[in-house]
Symmetry: C2
Subunit: 137 residues, 2 copies
């Protein structure tokens, strides 16, 4: 119920997004071009906050810009289909799981290797050993 004009700065902080990012989203047509004041300043409405907040939460959940484009289209009131949304989300979940597995493997190797470090100013080091060892994927 704010009466102040919805400038880009206010929109950005209302949605918890960087101001420059809002302009970027407009450039790549993720956000629609808003109305302008006589002097050319952007004038947003409540709906823009909701859209931007949606985008922000989707980004936090790691969805790509293109996936968000799809989700936004599917989120249109007339259009919503849980099955189609589920497909996008499942694809993303699969990608997240793949990255997670990779990162976990990495963590294990690094943790084991670092743990074997003496911490001495010695010339032999397990970390360098693992990087120098001839092993091919």
């Amino acid at each position: 119920m704010s009466r102040r004009p919805l400038t880009i700065g206010r929109l950005a902080s209302a949605a918890g997004v960087n101001l420059e990012t809002v302009r970027y989203y407009e450039r790549i047509k993720l956000m629609p071009p808003p109305a302008r004041t006589a002097s050319g300043h952007r004038a947003y409405e409540e709906g823009h906050i909701r859209r931007l907040a949606f985008i922000r939460r989707a980004r936090e959940l790691g969805f790509s810009i293109e996936q968000i484009r799809t989700l936004l289209a599917l989120a249109e009131p007339t259009r919503a289909s849980c099955a189609e949304v589920q497909e996008v989300a499942q694809t993303h979940l699969d990608e997240v799981r793949a990255k997670l597995a990779d990162l976990a493997k990495l963590e294990r190797i690094l943790a084991e290797t670092v743990a074997r470090c003496s911490g001495d100013p010695a010339p032999s080091c397990p970390v360098l050993d693992i990087l120098t060892t001839q092993k091919r994927a």
Copy 2:
């Protein structure tokens, strides 16, 4: 024990790295500029393979280019100090663990949400709900 000249293509495949990436590493001074044949082709030596393979393994372990620069300096035979190497690796391990934790949280939220999808062409969808819900970090 190969007698064939070590061209960039051979070096790249010996170390398991893309050819363009080798030239990129040279541009950013991660690989030293090699000797050249009369016609200007790069002529590498065995040492270059070892250095490039080191870089590749470090990249696979997720070290940044700048971290690798440091590791390569510390790996110099005269220079090696396990304590200093350990510090770089520990920093990287901390970063990996932070990403891992974030990604795990993400995975849980996505998995839970997707699991609640009906799969119907219904207008209500848990995935859209979570993106539309007003919650601020």
